[in-house]
């Protein structure tokens, strides 16, 4: 049981950072990025191709993560311009549909070019005992990276001027504009940051399980569930929800079965919306 819960925490941290990438973009511009998982997988494929071509792992990983960040930036500067020109429900709907389309494009291209490619990053070394459970090095390194990134994110949002500007746009776009924050610069940077987080998801996940070229949609769905349960727009909510759902997921997969597990996660998501649309830690607007 302890081992299952520990696995759940490892998975949950990955869920958490996946949800953060989605929740940030939604909180800022009202765009529900239904291509988030596909973007992450695109990063994984870049890394996989580069390492296959003989490049060193660290350099390939860095290039892959930056590539997803750039992809996010390009999407924001092109397609999302039309979305940000809309207001209210129109903006939400257009953003959602466009990103659904982008998700299909990325997924289709990957499936077409690299149908059986998968990224696995092996972390060498013997398993380490934690609380009597022997944990694989890959899981521990992945979790440590995510915790570090999480801490950096919190520091960024609390301590830097740009982080505070970001939070001001999340709270009130017009108010932020009045005090001299340029929402479009913030949005572009955060879309890029969300892409980078997606790349980190791909890398950390590849340390525990192979990331296949067709896994994008599944990752997007997990990101969506986590972001909704945590409260759309809430970074700490996404992390908390990620860890909770990760534990629920491994426990239920271990004791009940995988199809039911997915259904349980989806039902948790739907019930959250119906009972408490603001999620665990979100603020009701």
């Amino acid at each position: 049981m302890t081992a299952v819960i520990m696995d759940g925490i490892v998975l949950g941290l990955q869920f958490g950072i996946l949800g953060v990438g989605l929740t940030l973009v939604y909180g800022l511009g009202g765009v529900l990025n239904l291509a988030h998982g596909q973007m992450a997988v695109a990063g994984a494929m870049v890394i996989s191709r580069l390492t296959d071509g003989g490049m060193g792992t660290f350099l390939a990983v860095a290039i892959g993560i930056v590539a997803v960040g750039l992809l996010g930036m390009v999407i924001d500067l092109t397609l999302m311009k039309a979305v940000y020109g809309e207001e209210g429900e129109g903006r939400t709907l257009l953003g959602l549909l466009l990103m659904l389309g982008v998700g299909f494009i990325i997924d289709g291209v990957l499936e077409w070019r690299y149908p059986i490619e998968a990224l696995t990053l092996r972390v060498a070394g013997d398993p380490i005992d934690i609380l009597g459970v022997s944990m694989r090095r890959g899981s521990l390194v992945a979790s440590a990276i995510i915790l570090l990134v999480g801490a950096l994110l919190v520091a960024f949002f609390r301590l830097t001027t740009f982080g505070r500007a970001t939070r001001s746009v999340i709270q009130d776009e017009n108010g932020a504009r009045l005090v001299g924050v340029n929402p479009s610069v913030v949005r572009t940077s955060i879309f890029a940051l969300s892409g980078i987080l997606g790349g980190i998801v791909a890398v950390t996940r590849a340390m525990t399980t192979p990331v296949g070229s067709t896994d994008g949609i599944e990752l997007t769905i997990f990101a969506l569930i986590v972001a909704v349960v945590g409260g759309l727009g809430s970074v700490s909510g996404a992390f908390l929800a990620g860890i909770l759902l990760g534990i629920v997921s491994t426990v239920s997969a271990f004791y009940i079965g995988s199809y039911i597990t997915t259904i349980i996660l989806l039902v948790v998501c739907a019930v959250t919306i119906v009972i408490r649309p603001s999620g665990l830690l979100g603020v009701r607007s």
């Binding site: 549909l97 494009i105 289709g108 077409w112 039902v267 919306i273 119906v274 649309p277």
Partner: protein, 344 residues
């Protein structure tokens, strides 16, 4: 219930009413003429392709998607509820009809109607939850998407009932006209025509007025006494029932086979959305135009099956950016030389 029925408004000025009645009579021809013409043209298509089983399968699926499109148009186009569970509702119809007919020996024609009722109740429930919890578009979208994916996992996981990954072979309708090569096309065409007429009649009824009012301005409609909750749930019930019937009919046609992907989100919902984006959300013939165009394109892309997803993605992005109101409304407003009322 505080709903206002404009047609039954007790005291409008008498001559206004006469004028309105006259114009309604004049427009009946105008209203139903397009449906007649479209039905006639669609009825001619099999003459060219009746020898090819594969072409007939493609055409039947085209008609099925036209029916899905009309039903989705009632839910999303008329009342703005983003139901991302078109496939799931059709699948509830398809699987429950197949199971009722084969396991419980319900006559298969009856099972299609019962399946429609089941889908209608499920969709109505989703709609009722969405309205009473006043969920906005995005949350309705997420809840219904979660519902779709749960349904897919249920179909895969509950293999003893649904056949799981192998799919389900339906036996009850063997030997009926639904198993022939050309006739099922006409059955589905009839369904589409019935749906179109029903859609038109609905638009002209007090329900249609209420839909229009609450779509144009929900607050104003509510203030004018339109019971928004009631009409949204009506749309959910009606559209979902139509989806259930169409999905159930599909289970009995051709080889009588429904698989785990027949009603999957990626196979149905995305296509319906793109079709409607092309044809025009909320227009009468938009779903038909969309279904025809995408049936032809699918056939052209058949040799490049992997590229289909890319293509759908590009079309979605392009259509929603370029004609946000769909091709038919954009064209008809161009013809009328009205400036497009697209808001930026």
């Amino acid at each position: 219930m505080t709903a206002v029925d404009p047609a039954a408004d007790p005291e409008p000025a008498a001559d206004h009413r006469m004028a309105a009645a006259a114009s309604v009579k004049n427009s009946i021809l105008g209203d139903f003429l397009p449906i007649t013409i479209v039905a006639g043209l669609l009825g001619l298509i099999p003459l060219k392709f009746m020898d090819s089983r594969s072409m007939m399968t493609v055409l039947i699926s085209g008609m099925l998607f036209a029916a899905y499109g009309i039903a989705f148009n009632i839910i999303f186009g008329s009342t703005g509820q983003l139901f991302l569970c078109v496939g799931a509702l059709a699948g509830i119809g398809g699987f429950s009809s197949a199971i009722m007919a084969d396991r419980l020996s319900v006559p298969w024609v009856l099972s299609i109607l019962l399946a429609g009722i089941i889908a209608s109740l499920v969709g109505g429930l989703l709609s009722w939850i969405a309205v009473t919890r006043s969920l906005d578009t995005i949350f309705i979208g997420i809840v219904t998407l979660a519902f779709s994916l749960s349904f897919e996992n249920f179909v895969l996981g509950k293999g003893d009932l649904t056949g799981g990954e192998d799919g389900l072979r339906v036996a009850a309708s063997k030997g009926s006209i639904m198993r022939e090569q050309v006739k099922p096309y006409y059955v589905f065409l009839a369904l589409v025509v019935v749906y179109l007429i029903f859609y038109r009649l609905l638009q002209r009824s007090h329900i249609g007025w209420a839909f229009k009012a609450l779509k144009d301005d929900e607050v104003a409609a509510e203030l004018a006494g339109v019971d928004v909750t009631k009409y949204r749930v009506y749309a959910g019930l009606i559209g979902s029932g139509m989806l259930g019937i169409a999905g159930a009919m599909f289970a009995h046609q051709g080889r009588g086979f429904i698989g785990s992907t027949t009603y999957a989100f990626g196979a149905v919902d995305v296509r319906v959305l793109v079709m409607l984006a092309f044809g025009g959300i909320g227009s009468l013939l938009g779903p038909i135009l969309g279904a025809i165009v995408f049936t032809v394109l699918d056939e052209l892309l058949d040799s490049q099956a992997q590229l289909r997803e890319v293509f759908y993605g590009i079309v979605t992005v392009f259509l929603f950016l370029a004609f946000r109101r769909g091709a038919i409304p954009s064209l008809s407003s161009l013809l009328k030389k009205k400036p497009s009322s697209r808001s930026r």
